[in-house]
């Protein structure tokens, strides 16, 4: 499923909303989520999961082509931990 599939499905589910309102709401929701992580805040959605930031320490990497050493600074990367309901539902069909 892509973002446009998601917009389509939400439009057919929410008759009271126009396509434009659904589109804007999807974009706004994703923007809020992105901004939240970019400002160092977590996202917590009950039943779905939580997004947080994991720190990666600075390290010396290598250019795979030339083999040269490259100093890589520390950084934060987004991390998702599925919630209980999502974990159970995804695994239910498998077992």
């Amino acid at each position: 499923m892509t973002k446009s599939d998601l917009i389509e499905r939400l439009t057919s589910k929410h008759f009271q909303l126009s396509v434009k309102e659904v589109e804007d709401s999807v974009k706004e929701t994703l923007m809020l989520m992105t901004n939240s992580l970019a400002s160092g805040d977590r996202i917590e959605v009950r039943g779905f999961g939580s997004f947080s930031l994991h720190y990666r320490a600075p390290r010396v990497g290598r250019n795979p082509k030339t083999g040269d050493k490259v100093e890589l600074g520390g950084k934060y990367v987004p991390h998702f931990k599925p919630g209980k309901a999502l974990r159970e539902r995804v695994n239910a069909l498998n077992t």
């Binding site: 892509t2 994703l30 970019a38 160092g40 996202i43 998702f80 999502l86």
Partner: protein, 101 residues
């Protein structure tokens, strides 16, 4: 402070002009659509944000850390998230390169 469904709904009502009830229902179904797609075994790819994928893990030997008893960990299907390029860049650019929390 963590972003929650209630906060997203409040923003949608202010920014897009949905009623409080519409905003709340919208946020619920936004996450429900992603969940049911994953439940049905299909990945979800949101350009700019990231993708949710499914991985089938085989059974592996495990142990109860309290009792030391050997217990096999059953085969299972799990969700993994891969942040998109844009999200990764925004996070990297706007946060310090030293740990602060």
């Amino acid at each position: 402070m963590a972003l929650t469904k209630a906060e997203i709904a409040a923003h949608l009502s202010e920014e897009i002009g949905l009623s409080k009830r519409e905003a709340k229902e919208f946020v619920e179904s936004f996450f429900e659509e992603i969940k049911s797609t994953l439940e049905a075994g299909s990945p979800v790819k949101i350009s700019g944000f990231g993708g949710f994928e499914l991985k089938d893990k085989g059974e592996r030997p495990g142990r109860n850390p309290k009792t030391g008893e050997d217990i096999p960990i059953e085969a299972r299907r799990v969700v993994t998230f891969k942040a998109g390029q844009k999200l990764k860049e925004l996070v990297e650019e706007s946060l310090p390169d030293t740990p602060n929390k």
